[in-house]
Symmetry: D2
Subunit: 423 residues, 4 copies
């Protein structure tokens, strides 16, 4: 596939952004392409996910709506059938003789953000603005998908010896999909894994050989249930879910700091009650905790559960807490970082090289990285700079499409280099 074809594909995906577990069109479109390659195996849907490990799966009706939308947009029905129930994503496998198994992981989901209609915004001006109003590829995962395909083509056209696997992962934006894919079994024999992200405030032409500083994260939703009563006539008869929630919020932020490193907590969305004169029966918190390491995140998780439980008890309420997304921390292995660093230095189109950078956010590629590392393999996460007019997760985000080619070059060179090694 030529770079121009990849740009066309990226624009097609850009027009059809789909959020977590609803990447029906996206997966079907990628399968379309992958089936034309000389692969040894192509796994789709349930075959690439450990069923019980999916998080934040939407209601069936919501899934059905996006399924129909994909169908209407022209997605192949036979592929869609394999994705029914929110089993999205794919893994492509190509065996090319003796050599290590090298993997690349890209993510493919979009965001619930309304895309800019401004003439300054290339997708709007050029005609590939999102057709799913209120949703947008505002983080470059459309480019990631194109890079995944491009790297596959490039490696297959080379003298690469070994096995190549490309993981197209759903549900990264909610840190909801990485765990299920990491437990699919497809990583069991992987010796080397690369993850990749475009942008992140790095300009076009810049390569970051190794990204670290992923904060481990856990998203939760806590639902408090009490007893309603008339606030004027029988205040004592109520068990006030809003009081429970407020006590929880106050004390969540008060979880002690940890000497071993950074921790975070946020009650990002809250609500409760139905009328000024009714003691509230229900309230909720959607929040998150983070840690510089997985252990620190788990420390915050454990303490937050205790706060939620006690705050409910304090006001005679019940609380149910759901984990809605999760990702561990991870560290890019020196060996893989060096390989990228070396090939980037030799690449004339790389105008700037950053050896190591810290993300300071969260990313569930870490599940895949740790799975490989725990199996004795190595993993790294690299950055491909791209000029982006608006920030990540804003309506004016866009990528410099030239960076797609550069990302493919650097990654496929690194993978070819790895094929010469014996882990």
């Amino acid at each position: 596939m030529t770079t121009s074809d990849l740009v066309t594909l990226r624009r097609d995906l850009h027009r059809h952004p789909e959020p977590a577990w609803r990447e029906f069109y996206t997966t079907a479109r990628l399968v379309d392409e992958l089936e034309t390659r000389d692969l040894d195996a192509l796994y789709v849907g349930r075959e690439v996910l450990s069923e019980d490990e999916r998080m934040a799966v939407p209601e069936e009706s919501e899934l059905d709506e996006w399924y129909e939308r994909a169908l209407a947009a022209g997605a192949r029905e036979d592929v869609l059938e394999a994705l029914r129930g929110g089993y999205t994503g794919a893994v492509a496998v190509a065996e090319r003789g003796d050599g290590p198994t090298v993997a690349l992981r890209v993510d493919i989901d979009g965001l619930p953000i309304t895309e800019s209609e401004s003439d300054d915004h290339v997708p709007a001006a050029t005609g590939f603005r999102s057709e799913h109003e209120g949703f947008m590829h505002a983080c470059g995962h459309d480019a990631h998908a194109a890079i995944g395909l491009g790297v596959l083509d490039s490696v297959l056209a080379s003298d690469f010896e070994g096995t190549l696997k490309v993981f197209f992962q759903p549900g990264e934006e909610l840190v909801a999909g990485g765990r299920a894919m990491s437990k699919s079994g497809h990583l069991d024999d992987v010796d080397y894994l690369y993850g990749v992200h475009v942008g992140l405030d790095h300009p076009s032409g810049e390569i970051v050989a190794g990204i670290d500083g992923f904060l481990a994260v856990s998203h939760f939703r806590a639902e408090f249930t009490g007893t309603p009563s008339h606030a004027g006539a029988r205040p004592e008869a109520g068990d006030n879910a809003v009081q429970a929630m407020a006590a929880a919020v106050q004390n969540l932020y008060g979880i002690p700091r940890h000497a071993d490193g950074a921790t975070r907590v946020n009650a990002g969305m809250v609500g409760g009650g139905t009328a000024t004169n009714i003691v509230p029966e229900e309230a909720f918190i959607e929040g998150e905790v983070r840690g510089e390491t997985t252990e620190l995140m788990e420390y915050m998780e454990e303490k937050s559960r205790r706060v939620l439980r006690s705050a409910a008890e304090m006001h005679g309420c019940e609380v149910e807490t759901f984990t809605e997304g999760k990702a561990p921390s991870a560290r890019s292995d020196d060996e893989l970082v060096s390989v990228v660093s070396d090939v980037a230095r030799e690449n004339a189109n790389v105008t700037s090289l950053v050896e190591r950078d810290a993300l300071g956010g969260s990313e569930d590629a870490t599940y895949l990285m740790r799975e490989v590392q725990e199996n004795g393999g190595k993993a790294a996460y690299i950055g491909v700079g791209t000029d982006h007019p608006g920030g990540h997760h804003t309506g004016t985000f866009d990528v410099d499409e030239d960076s797609i080619g550069l990302g493919i070059d650097v990654l496929s060179s690194a993978i070819r280099e790895l094929s010469t090694r014996r882990p």
Copy 2:
């Protein structure tokens, strides 16, 4: 108008329940009827309200939507024109020679409650269920309007000497309309005022000669505004509106009890934030405070404002607080209670008489009662029993239509009796 006609009118109003400041169809329909009576004056819309005293007036778009709905339902356009902007309600005046000015106040608004579709529910079974889905006359104000008209007819047909004024008040359910009507000037010359409510757990045939125990109430909406930031990457850059809100909730309920009598506080509806990973920029509380007396309510109001303000400051936020509804306490005057008691005792259809009862809730008829009392007049609030299958403010509430006639009899007898007195 015959009792049967009044029942027809009540059912028409029941089919068109309209919430506060949106009683367009209701007011127009009442004006239709009132114009056919021998009145000395009929005031409508802006003429019956002190403009600045209206509370909880909805957005213009919301008002427009209900306006159009009333028009579509057949309301007279010339009357509607006078109500534009949410100026609903009417006051009818009939002068019948020398004598005191006696007034009756009825309220006319509906509630945001979905009406039952059960066959056991008479309006559903008989075909006059609400046509405004999600809204309902679930507190009998449709019957109140019919009683107001019936009392007018009955008194005008009698030997009454003096002036009779009937107030059709909007926006009672939010305690949003009483103040504006009380300050309209139409009460300035009123010597005696009755308010009336049907039901309240009193059965058909029972009359309550005097209702007291109104809790003074004040509804508020507090809007907290802070500064958003990424909860992982820059937690310190945020000013957390949800933390401010939670601190406020905790401390609102902690406002000290008062030795002079009962007080109440409730944070009935709260919300805030946009995403788990964003430090919340906005949050709100819709709540209320009450007191056994107006002074006690004001004590709670003052303390609650201080809590809201300080909670915002504590977390670097701004807070704007809006009073969304308000009513003082009031007491029914002995003289007017005795008059009702006497006429009820002589009425063969009254099967049970309660001299005094306590409401334990709030009602903004108290604004009108106090206005009259402060001018040297007298006021009372009476109860007309009616069997009601479901409780007030539930989807199965309904009235026994026979009680409309009894209410008219008792009130018009009382008003005729008052015309013989010289205040």
Copy 3:
């Protein structure tokens, strides 16, 4: 005993104020006097208390210290021996033929308040200021003890027929002694019981025939225990008892108001921690809850226990909660109030009569009143006015000693009148 002797006795007691369960000198001094009367029984110490029902008993070392102090002040060693271990108080019984059993209850303990040394303060000026520095009879219980003895003498000198019992109760100020005395068995046959208090802002010459409005009360001490750690080096290793305590305080005041009547809550004394740089291992709250009825107090008690328990759990702490004092609500029976009212009206020295008044505070005479009422008897609590320069519980409180005689007259007249009745 002459009134002058009673004044001498009162001043002796005033010089030796003793707090709850430490009324060694006081009890011994009263026994001295009582032994000289023609009694049928005199019960002392353990004989007048149900052992398990004593509350807020101090440490043994504290009891010993006051025991020694009493001994040094000249108290009789044989009597003291019977009081060892904090079993203070006495009950005197005189049988005078057929007739009802009538009882009077007076309390005898002092307060931890430093008495004024001012020349304006009569005890200081006249030489009977407290000899126990930091303690004081600042609520008139010295006068109560004198009244108890005076009533005994007066009734025994009269034509009274029946049985008279006088209860000298310890530990009222902490509401710690009433329960133990009420369960001693000595009330089992009592038909009529009077309690009495001087002052309460009623002037000399005024009698209050019946006092009500006792708030039921329960004192608690909650001790939180967590885990200390260095606040700089290992903040996460601590379980913060001060955080637990603060969460409890915030939520104790937020216990919902009750529609059935007045409730109260107060975290009157709190403390915790040892150094700025140590995560606090210990914290405490000494507080109280009250209710207009015993049920309302128990509602508050139950909710407060839940708050304390959950606040501890929330921060990984343990909490132990001790009940340190308690008293139910009670109501003065009409019959006994009328009797007082009648005799007061006939007494030329009574210059003013109040039929009923409300206390608005707490008093554990209520335990004795309810015990009698539950057994089918009647009880009332009466007020004997006395000019008092300083308020109750202040260092300048004092009584007008003339009111001692008036109190004796009114109470003994009432008791004689009751002896003519048959319950």
Copy 4:
């Protein structure tokens, strides 16, 4: 002075531990010694402190008590006179020709800790246990003072060229004295400054060439004042200082974490109220905030002030906040660390060398270090290992007196080495 004399001196100081601003005996004893040296200047008391910069100075009566104690213990009255009012500490200056000005800072205060009486505890067994019961040299500042004197002797006996200044600083334990000494002017011409600490879990024979990781710290005392009232009779009349304090505690711990590095907050000691039945008039918090950098500490300080202020306002209280101690962060300069590293490597008695270590606590030597660094000089803080049976700040802490000599050797060698440099 021989090492044996220094040990004698250390034991004398150990017997007379004195807390911040009360180091009367200690200063006088050091002055005794210093006056026998060939110094060019000796500054004492007010001469070594910037008066307005002292923090946490005790009440005059407290100062007087320790003054008298020092006098009684044999301190020279003429020296004491110069220290009156809590102006303790000294600076010794020796000029030895051309060369840089090199300074050493040691601290001299003790702690409010009761010293062990166990036979296992050398000071107890050997007869130099603290004579100030409840106070103890439990952090080795007695050894620091001895090292200060020993370095002075050692350098003066060498071929050192330049100026040597030794700072004997009071009030380190409360981080109360460093600021005042740093602003005394005596650092203005200092080119190189060493601070030193023994122990810190480093064994005898080990030298730490550079200590970093000082957390900047600020101690505060917040005093809340409200209005008392009777909790049963007039709860609404109180302004509850304990509620204010509890709201403050809850929200202090909730100050947002900071992405730039570690922060800390602790409400280490709290208290309030006088009786269960009184709405508390007063409450306090003694606490601290810390930061990995001075900026981070100041961030916490600013937010904590806002919380304290708003919590007071929320409950109608006043709050006064006092800074009771403070220290910035600081970093040891590479050049000075290298010098120590080099001399340590050449010292046969140094059995182990740690290049850099992190303290993880706070120390107000940082004020002096930063003063020198801001003037263009260099500073470092070094560790001298010593076996210590009990931990720092415990009753069984003690030093291995052999480490005093080793510390003197290393420091004086480093200082002589520096005299050869030209800054």
